[in-house]
């Protein structure tokens, strides 16, 4: 099938599959849920190929789609489809290597989970996907200024929640990147 649409989709799929699966696995508690998110996200992308932007922006656009899919999934609006089962095994592998654990990290993770959904998403896009403000603005379809303000608020709420939960960070645990001024 010499379909340019198909060729483009396959290229985008190859290019972004690793990032989108990582996105889903970082946010879902079970491999099955992650498989659902990935399958639904790419299904929507295939249906909306006309809207898919070129180049690197495609990844940001897919993050935006995945974000909506995730929200729908949490509301129980997405039913398991046969096609996502195919991915289960691969997703399970990603769940095998648990993130670092420790009393302090567990406490931080607990506080993080208590934050509003939008806060968690913004902080995650920075910390886990490594996006800057412009990229987040593109992915979420909001202005950069809105991202700046919301991110500021999310950080503040997280800090406060950590203090309230009695999580005090020792200097060694801060893992400050080199060259960063506080």
């Amino acid at each position: 099938m010499d379909d340019p649409r198909l060729a483009r989709f396959e290229a985008v799929y190859r290019e972004t599959f690793g990032q989108i699966t990582a996105y889903a696995v970082r946010r879902c508690d079970s491999p099955q849920d992650a498989a659902d998110i990935v399958a639904e996200t790419f299904t929507i992308a295939w249906r909306r190929m006309d809207e898919l932007p070129p180049g690197k922006e495609a990844t940001l656009w897919l993050y935006g789609v995945a974000r909506n899919v995730l929200a729908n999934h949490r509301r129980g609006e997405i039913r398991r489809q046969a096609r996502s089962v195919e991915l289960d095994v691969e997703m399970v592998d990603l769940y095998g290597a648990a993130p670092d654990t420790g009393v302090e990290l567990t406490a931080i993770a607990e506080v993080f989970r208590s934050l509003p959904d939008d806060d968690r998403e913004l902080l995650s896009l920075v910390a886990w996907e490594g996006l800057d403000r412009r990229q987040i603005a593109t992915a979420l379809g909001v202005s950069r200024n809105a991202v700046r303000i919301r991110l500021h608020r999310a950080r503040r709420r997280f800090s406060r929640a950590l203090v309230e939960a009695g999580v005090h960070l020792t200097p060694e645990s801060r893992l400050l990147p080199a060259g960063r001024s506080l």
Binding site: R5, L6, F9, E10, Y13, F17, G18, Q19, T21, A22, R26, A39, F42, T43, W46, R47, R48, D50, N68, A71, N72, R75, A82, R83, S84, E86, L87, D88, E90, M91, L94, Y95, P99, D100, I108, F112, D117, D118, L123, S124, V126, A127, W128, G130, D132, L140, G141, V142, S143, A146, I149, R150, R155, F158, S159, R174, L175, L176, P177, L182
Partner: protein
């Protein structure tokens, strides 16, 4: 990673797939089966379902652009509330309780300097200016804050049992450094006054009086009125680009009821939209609000879509390009 903060650095070890690492491989068996399954679907038929009602057109966009003539400014109290007639006990009363909540009652609007001093004493970073009829402060004096913290201040309301004056409450704990409450008290023809209260970013320029040449209030269609305009039910509050979940608490706080206009967005979102339906049934909290309109007293219609678009369909781009609040 230039913007990364300490918070995010701390979060990095929480990621199940380490930041910078890839998740699954597209060449794995599952990934290839999924790809084949998705692309075996005819994309054309799949798209048809959500777009079955197509009533697109520029109508609403025209309304949005026409509304640009209206210059809305934060909260403005109905001048009928403010008419001076009776002598009253005090020009204003400002008190603060132990929780940092400041209560303000204003009955006479001429002593701007005194009111400003009193507010500052009680921790409200306010600038108060009094503007004679037919004049205005030369704008813009500062950039208005985009997102005002929920609960920072209440909508001005009547003082119970009195015909004149208004009252409001301000939570001084919610002010952040670099913010100033800019109050402008303007005399109106007929003896009333209006007060606009806008939270702005420092620095705020002093009020330089100039003739008031702002276009008079006019809207293309009197049946459609933005709820966020001055005097509207959501005056002083921005709804555009927020989620339904973010906007609803403000609507409830103001004692309003929401109905939802489900928008139909043409392919490519060129600006403008159609109306699928208007419903009372709540939509998902993650739906996106693009504008709010006053329907009848106490009812606000939210213009919503089930997902985010790259630009505001009501205005064909950022609302700020069209509307100045």
């Amino acid at each position: 990673m230039k913007h990364i903060d300490e918070i995010e650095t701390m979060m990095r070890p929480l990621a199940r797939v380490a930041p910078g690492r890839s998740g699954g491989s597209p060449s794995g068996a599952g990934a290839r089966t999924l790809l084949a399954s998705i692309t075996s679907e005819d994309p054309g038929t799949a798209v048809a379902t959500p777009r079955r009602v197509q009533r697109y057109g520029p109508r609403r966009l025209v309304l949005g652009l026409a509304a640009a003539a209206v210059v809305a400014t934060g909260i403005v109290v109905d001048p009928s509330l403010l008419r001076n007639g009776h002598s009253v006990s005090a020009a204003y009363a400002v008190t603060k309780d132990s929780d940092g909540i400041v209560y303000i009652q204003v009955r006479d609007f001429r002593d701007a300097a005194g009111l400003r001093k009193r507010l500052r004493e009680l921790g409200v970073p306010a600038i108060v200016d009094h503007v004679p009829q037919g004049q205005m402060c030369r704008g813009p004096r500062a950039t208005p804050m985009e997102d005002i913290p929920s609960g920072l201040y209440s909508v001005p309301e009547n003082i119970p049992g009195e015909r004149n004056g208004w009252q409001m409450r301000i939570d001084t704990k919610l002010f952040e450094p670099g913010q100033t409450f800019v109050w402008t008290i303007t005399d109106l023809p007929g003896g009333g006054s209006s007060t606009s209260t806008i939270l702005m970013k420092d620095p705020v320029a002093p009020c330089v009086l100039v003739p008031d040449d702002t276009p008079k209030m006019k809207e293309a269609d009197s049946k459609v009125r933005r709820a966020t305009r001055k005097g509207g039910s959501l005056a002083g509050y921005r709804v555009d680009e927020k989620t339904v979940g973010e906007v609803l608490p403000e609507i409830e706080k103001r004692g309003l009821k929401a109905v939802y206009l489900i928008m139909a967005i043409p392919p490519g979102n060129p600006g403008g939209f159609g109306e699928l339906r208007t419903q009372e049934k709540p939509v998902g909290k993650d739906w996106v609000v693009w504008e709010a309109e006053d329907v009848t007293s106490g009812v606000v219609r939210l213009l919503v879509t089930d997902k985010r678009y790259d630009k505001n369909p009501v205005y064909g781009g950022p609302r700020d390009n069209v509307i100045r609040d």
